[in-house]
Subunit: 300 residues, 4 copies
């Protein structure tokens, strides 16, 4: 099967903390409509990748994956029919074209889309400098992935693999081989989506790319300067090798800086790495010797 | 068009410097057959990605791209027929399955293949550490891209775009818009292949991934310790933003450490960045104020 | 007062873990005598800076500071007499000349010495490379500082300031201004010695220099690979700005990698930075929002 | 001899490029008087460390070293008398107290002083963050060292060693052992002052601290963005191991970012490292295989 999904394209969460996202995390506000603010990292080329909708409680509203081609929507529409997955066709949304919307077995609203306004990144398209001047806060270049919870992870994981053709890069398994959690990819990167045990529709975190060890310390310095609650890190995940800081927005949503540093590149036939349950602590936090309770218990 | 090529899979060059590749560059020798030694980086999962064939003069023997699916070979076979591109079917090669072989207008032997022995990287597949112990030399995790010369770059670039469906990430153009050089991708990374002006079949360099600023200095320290001739760097390309060291093997082939640091991620519709000829110096070497003559004149 | 102490020259602790110090921490064994093994970092030029004496329980045996000149020993001998500090003259010790030995009010055995065998670092003295090949483990270039406990920190701090002329770089104070802890220097670096509340003669940690963000992650990777218990970090201290990993040897002694990254340089009149007790958490661990209980409670 | 000089305290050069120093190099303007602008790095605690005096040609006006104690001025005054070195007592200067001024055999105006207004760095003195927000340009924390030329380097080097008690960290020598150049220290760091062959009173460069590999690339990116002419680097010196970028201000004065990364720490008896003339190229630029002609020929 060829690659038909380009990347995680959009995560919408419930949060009232626009100022925090702009000045501490350092995303760029690209538009507002009703209760929703649309944001993106400085190196993203379409209209937005992250949005905040004002609400009384935190959590995820939806996640959306961008296809490689417009006709990949037709391809997936047929798969939904084949697998009897109910879906809606959303003709258009804010600065975006047609999308397919469905509920995953994990209890999340998921969309597939291709068209979104192409607005370019923050650099000129002729003879650009390598990074823009005047960035604020942590200023990640882009959204990287999201991790969500599912009451029955094995079923949710199988759904994304079978219907949407995600491949697994890493799997955490019970002694009998049952998957507890999986890291799933479409881009040839460690993951676009991960699923761990927890409540239906639960939002564990969205991650933004921060790619060097020094940038991780800088990010942590900025979080600490603003008295942001850091949940884990700076550190490294055993699973995905990714370097990480987990932290919270003031509304209680967990975010992550995820580092490409030492990241692997996937091939279509790359075999998934297995983590056994007795090494879950190191899988989540490679430097820890005691389980970070928060990892499995706190989500929104 | 969906993504049908996973990556640059194999570069074969003429070199008698196996010891250098193993102990200074730090590739892993995975096999020998006749006059050819097969090598790979520590994080590559198939049998080899780079090979050295003993010969009296340096240069490239061939480059090969790995498809995403086995049936992508059929897809490209049809395209060769459509575009009247002569090709051979190579039933098998060293630890590799069926391949299509053709001559590009740039004068290079190019292959497409899918099957190669899957041997895993140097880490265990269960509960792995993030990197293997006991690496030697620079020890890049993997091959990244190659840059070759063409007598008529515009024609060669168009061939890879039209027939093989490469997309351009960056283009260096004459004032009238004619492409002088192009950086072409299939992975959603800055490039898998680049083409610059020069002789037919010319080999400018093959690049291996080195992904952090400190690792670049470490690589340069290792090169200097072994009295390797450094052509450029440590530095940064304006084009691709990639951090770089250009250096030579003792046979005279140019190699590169290419850094993912700050690298961008491509979308299918990402518009190519344009570099104008008057800024070619900064495009090649962002920190330079004078043209590095060697860049356009020295290749093998 | 001119600078009369060059640096913390030697820390001797009780530990049975020589293999750990050589293969995980990566110190170099330079000699053994009786129950004691003598070690140093690869960039240290005298015979040793750290020693391990076999014993049934962990903790510090002694710490020693090297003077700038031989005659500084006479200078300090007079000060001991002036301040009525009892001391012994130790004519010689393992590969070391005359020393003054005394008990500090913190309950530690402290020595001053000048002469020690000059054996050079691990690089040649003519046309050296920047770092030696073949290092093992974390391989810090040198010992940096030690932090000890005192039942009455204010008295101990005053003693080191008045009698030995240490200057304070940072002080943690009660609301009434009483010092709870102090970071004291002789080299123009953040500290050579720090004193915090705790038992008499208590050893909190000895720190070895690791100077870049990437080297910190590498050090943590190595610790995790060897299942070493990490107490804190990778992180940053608010106090001294130093980047840090706290971890334990198998005998239970705490060690640190301390990073010069962003470190300040002292002048003789540099005013001490004040940390207020309500910000002690950030002073110890700048990224933490909850006190690391272990910091004040665990020492040997 | 105890350490009596704390550091290189002040370099005054002829330059009309205040805007460049503030916005590209990122020094802080702390005062102006007549044709002179006074500047410092963000982590320096006294009134200034670098000054620019408007003039028709570039070059050094003077360099000044700060003593450890006020009475060290008396100590050096006696040494000047002992060695028959003519000197002036300068009762006061801009925000500075008494100084001794003399001509070195290299043809430079050199001063020793102790008193200068203590104004603090750009961080609060209570519970500070590790770095200030809102820095511009490269923003080095402090001045590090200067390198000057002398028609008879051996004589100039001997003068600084004998009269001012500098120690040599590294020496470049002729085959017969005659020093061609020397790197001299008072702080226990690689150097405060270096002397190479060239005209009387010549100014080779002043260096500002940039301490990590990533910060070096960031500095080079900023220089390139502003079209600053880079003379060498990013790279590493064999001599001092220091990482470096040499570049020019618009008036033609050479500046450097000098990296503490991997820097060594000196002891009073540390033996100087010797570089032989045949390895001068690697001593100056460890990654080069051909001599950078500019190093010995271009100075102001």
């Amino acid at each position: 099967m060829p690659y038909r999904i380009s990347r995680l394209g959009h995560v919408e969460i419930r949060s009232v903390d626009l100022d925090y996202y702009v000045n501490v995390l350092g995303l760029h506000l690209t538009g507002r409509e009703g209760p929703t603010a649309y944001l993106k990292g400085w190196d993203e080329r379409h209209a937005y990748s992250f949005s905040l909708t004002e609400a009384e409680r935190p959590g995820m509203v939806r996640m959306a994956f961008r296809t490689v081609d417009p006709e990949d929507l037709d391809y997936y529409e047929k798969r939904f029919q084949t697998y009897s997955v109910p879906y809606d066709v959303i003709p258009e949304d804010y600065r975006r074209g047609r999308a397919l919307r469905f509920q995953s077995p994990s209890g999340h609203t998921v969309e597939l889309y291709y068209e979104m306004d192409y607005t370019g990144n923050l650099l000129p398209t002729v003879n650009p400098a390598p990074w823009p001047d005047g960035l604020k806060g942590i200023a990640p270049p882009r959204l990287d992935h999201t991790l969500v919870t599912a009451p029955d992870p094995a079923t949710a994981i199988r759904f994304f693999q079978e219907v949407l053709e995600f491949r697994a890069s890493e799997v955490l398994v019970q002694p009998d081989g049952t998957p507890i959690a999986a890291w799933l990819w479409q881009r040839p990167a460690p993951h676009d989506l991960a699923i761990v045990p927890g409540g239906a529709g639960g939002f564990h975190h969205a991650a933004f790319m921060i790619d060097t060890p020094e940038a991780i310390f800088r990010a942590a310095d900025i979080l600490a300067r603003h008295h942001v609650r850091i949940d884990l890190g700076p550190g490294r995940h055993g699973i995905t090798r990714g370097t990480t800081i987990y932290f919270f927005d003031p509304s209680g949503n967990r975010l992550e800086t995820f580092g490409g540093y030492s990241a692997y590149q996937m091939d279509p036939d790359t075999q998934a790495i297995t983590w056994t349950a007795d090494r879950m602590t190191q899988g989540v936090s490679y430097y820890a010797t005691e389980l970070n309770e928060s990892f499995l218990k706190v989500y929104t």
